[in-house]
Amino acid sequence: MGPVARYTTNREGTLRAFVVCTILVALLPAAVPGLAQETPADTALVLPDDHPLRPQPPPRTDLTPMERLFGALGWLGTRPFEFLGTGAEGTAIWYEDRVGGFAEGLSGSALGPPPDPGTFSIMGGSLGTRSGFVGGGVHVHTPSGPTGARAGVTAAFTNRLYQEYSAYVGLNDPSERPYAIVTGFYDIDTMDRFWGLGPFSDEELQSSFSWERWGARAMAGLPEEKRGLRANVHAGWENSIVFEGDALDEPDAVDVFPEIALPSIQLASAGAGLGYDLRDVAGHPTRGVYASAAATYWTSADDFEYEWLHWAAQAQVHIPLGSDWHILSLKASAEEADPTGDLDEIPFSYLPTLGGSGTLRGFDSWRFRDRAAAHATAAFRWRIWLEHTQNPDKGGVLEAALFYDTGTVGPAIDEIDGDQLKHSYGLTISAYLLDSHMMTFGVGYSEEAIRLIFSTRDVW
């Protein structure tokens, strides 16, 4: 029996962790004083709406200098931060966030509808990531404002043959209105990595593999950038293949771990997510709490008999330390993939992982993998720059953060062992445009490495 099948089902643990997280979500706002969002003092001398001197403003007068700059570069209204990156940080992130079934999907943010129908943008490649040192792509879509039908295509690739393609049709802007999206996708990451399962997987067994997927997903939900309740439901079908990796300097994972090789398998999935957001700003919150939980049921759509439930939950709290310029942020998350059928196996590539630019940032991406993962982050964040706009809520921000990450993986959520926690520390600098995270770079330290951090996904 290979590592993908050596654990038994633990439904009691799953249920218990889900209940604990739900209670945490409910209690956090009441438990932490000062988290209720405060309305900033309105010090500007603003005429009332019905004042005779108030003009009808011309369109888009509230553009910040950074928006103008990005507008001049043709990025405005798309996602200027759609850089290629490791793993899911590529073009399809916007859609994968919404269909992946992970709690993070609920916190995905977008810049909103582009001002003009028909937008074409060219994406830059990320530097120094495993997925490729240079790359590019296009993103073409036809938005029509907050409501109405929309469609788009994306394509991206790097010199390491990392590729993502997607096409979608949808109704309404998910950031602002109840929405529905159907996405077809094809992804291939030739540089994924595997060390084996469990918290003590051997650092020396680092190996690479390729993971190719294509399929379609449908999703509907409540607006994702409004404070308060968020929810979505989703269903999909996909074909998945694992084979040799392209890294020349490390062995193929299928050679080191022959049992993980997968022929083409077909999976169907369905799930739902629920979240409640009381943060003041989703992208760079200064106060408030956010909690979410999501579950996705996966089952084989072919002759294999895979069947499992994946759930994830997280809670985060942000506490201003005297002002918006100094913030203490805490986050805890847990997830588990739990077989529910007769076959006590889960394809290893669908198991939770830790490590990389989002969790345990001092470790390599996907460093730890197992059926369950728990992770916590504490960060002292301080602003080092605030874009100068009339409306401070609309400005960009540069923010530094000292962080401490801890977490580990295990065969089940209730078998997570505190003695096996991994730790990492580091410093990051993040850039935010409007409410959206653009990119984070920094350095993380762990017992295994000093790792440069570059990410287009925010940890919050």
């Binding site: 003092a41 010090t43 001398l45 005429l47 011309p58 369109p59 602003r383 720059w385 009339q390």
Partner: protein, 573 residues
């Protein structure tokens, strides 16, 4: 170390020393006035276009460079166009005005205005419309055939932009800078007509829609009704139907693009002083700080080609003339940000301030710029915006983007600029504020208070950086001078001095309690004339303040002996 590497190290060291020591300052007696008067005839250059993105990026890297600059630690090079008395001569960049020959308050009130504004005794023709963006405006040709640009105030801050533009224009002009003729102007809409070939795009629900005079499609015909609906109806009218605007007269000459605050304009043979080392542009920092002209950047300058009357006639004949360099667009000066009022952040931090960012990073956010300490912001009059002594540091004021001339300023440049600022009397500032034609007396008083308090703060800072002993001259066998600190801020006269002339047999030092330092005659037989330091008497005078402090730098006065008397040949602060 091998011989080759040793030689390489030696060469690098020599190059570094050479670089560091290059550009020896011109001594007062070495002054050559010819390059300073830069109005010699040149062929007409092409018009250049500003690159605002480049300027922004340049500004960011200039800011980073400032943090890392060795020069700023070891001493910046002096301005290259200072005359023997540490002043500047009149040129295509600057004309000495108020600090040399004080203007009357009426002269300040009028500023550069050579007319009463656009003539609307007859038809006023609109010949270009700028409807996009946040500051719509249009260009007119008045009844006398003179062309003007009209800009309007944001309705929420009525009178703010137009008032600030005219007040600041008059003060920059009175200080000596070349500016356009700007007026607070009350437009009579009934006089407006549309040019026959006028077209314009207006923002409408479906996007930008083009209208044209005489269009075939009646729905797209540009008429006065369309113009009124999209432009004029935005603004309030006075009881007699007039609309307040800022009218800026087209500059004389042919536009040739903006000037850089660094480097040279290669197609202008008159341009021989790198702009970042021009005294007028370095010293502009002090004026800009006083008037909170945060938008002092390349994009708000303009070179105009002034055609020489001797220029050959004929279309094919190349015109000759010279470039005159102007400052433009003071709508973001004082408390006005053109479309929004200034708040305390303006002037307190660059838009993207590399040094502030770095300091906040390494201090975990403990480092704060002045504006951060003023939160929540105080209130300010809507027609003025924030313009106050609060949070103002005349030595650490910052424009929106890094200005390369500003960051090269030295104490001497600052002192020169402060003399311009301090030349404005209360009565003159009152006249300047009146030029804004503010309807709210309290608003005008708020502006006037800001002007006076920031002026005095400017003088108090810069007049301590050097010994502010102006106009040194020889009278009755002694050097006398005007103590600018004492003139503006009072206090006793007390100075330390040192006299030094080896060849003249003079070596003396002491302290005096009046602005008069007796000069001993040199030893008999001292040759007259000469062009080296050994041929001059060197007098260093340092101001001693009532609090016991001393000016950071002495005034160094050089005197020549003509056989019977001394004469001042130069001064360096």
């Amino acid at each position: 170390m091998t011989t080759r590497s040793a030689l390489a190290a030696l060469a690098i060291t020599a190059a570094a020393i050479s670089t560091a020591c290059g550009g020896r300052p011109i001594q007062p007696w070495e002054y050559q006035p010819r390059p300073m008067a830069d109005t010699l005839a040149i062929f007409e250059p092409d018009e250049t276009q500003p690159s605002l993105v480049y300027e922004q990026v340049y500004g960011v890297f200039s800011g980073l460079g400032r943090v890392a600059s060795v020069n700023r630690k070891t001493g910046l090079p002096p301005a290259l166009n200072a005359d023997p008395f540490d002043e500047v001569v009149n040129s295509a960049w600057f004309t000495n005005r108020n600090a040399r020959d004080p203007l009357s308050p009426d002269g300040i009130l009028r500023g550069p205005q050579a007319s009463e504004g656009p003539d609307q005794s007859g038809e006023v023709t609109i010949w270009s419309i700028k409807a996009e963006g946040v500051t719509p405006g249009f260009w007119i040709e008045d009844a006398a055939g003179v062309r003007w640009i009209l800009k309007f105030d944001p309705p929420e801050n009525w009178e703010m932009g137009s008032g600030a533009e005219v007040v600041a224009t008059n003060l920059f002009w009175a200080a000596g800078y070349h500016t356009p003729e700007n007026h607070v102007y009350y437009l009579d809409p009934s006089r407006l007509v549309l040019d026959d070939e006028l077209d314009a795009e207006f923002p409408e629900a479906e996007g930008m829609v083009e209208y044209r005079v005489g269009a075939d499609d009646p729905a797209r015909e540009l008429t006065m009704d369309v113009f009124r609906r999209h432009i004029l109806d935005r603004y309030p009218t006075s009881s007699d139907g007039m609309i307040r605007a800022m009218a800026s007269r087209f500059l004389p000459g042919a536009p040739k693009g903006p000037f850089d605050y660094a480097g040279l304009r290669e197609d202008d043979p008159n341009d021989v002083i790198p702009h970042e080392h021009r005294r007028e542009l370095r010293g502009l920092y002090v004026m800009a700080a006083w008037l909170n002209h945060v938008d002092a950047k390349k994009g708000n300058t303009q070179d105009m080609f002034i055609v020489d009357p001797r220029s050959p006639e004929g279309d094919d004949a190349p015109a000759i003339g010279y470039l005159r360099h102007h400052l433009l667009d003071f709508g973001s000066a004082l408390g006005s940000g053109s479309v929004h009022p200034h708040n305390p952040r303006h002037g307190s931090e660059h838009d993207f301030d590399a040094s502030a960012i770095l300091l906040r990073l390494v201090t975990f956010g403990a480092y704060k710029r002045p504006w951060q300490k003023m939160l929540p912001y105080p209130e300010w009059p809507p027609s003025i915006g924030f313009y106050s002594i609060d949070g103002f540091n005349p030595a650490d004021w910052r424009s929106n983007i890094v200005n390369p001339a500003f960051i090269n300023r030295t104490a001497r440049d600052g002192y020169w600029g402060a003399k311009l600022v301090m030349s404005f009397t209360d009565a003159q500032l009152d006249a300047a504020a009146r030029a804004g034609r503010y309807s709210e007396p309290d608003a005008a008083a708020y502006l006037l208070e800001g002007l006076k308090e920031r002026r005095d703060a400017t003088g108090r800072y810069w007049f301590r950086q050097v010994s502010s002993l102006d106009r040194p001259r020889v009278e009755g066998g002694a050097v006398v001078f005007d103590d600018l600190w004492a003139r503006h801020f009072g206090g006793s006269a007390r100075y330390e001095y040192a006299l030094d002339w080896d060849d003249g047999g003079i070596d003396d030092e002491g302290e005096v309690t009046s602005a008069r330092i007796p000069l001993p005659a040199p030893a008999a037989g001292v040759p007259t004339g000469g062009d080296s330091a050994d041929d001059h008497l060197r007098l260093e005078v340092r101001k001693v303040f009532d609090d016991g402090g001393r000016a950071d730098r002495p005034a160094t006065i050089w005197l020549a002996w003509d056989g019977s008397a001394y004469r001042v040949v130069g001064v360096r602060y």
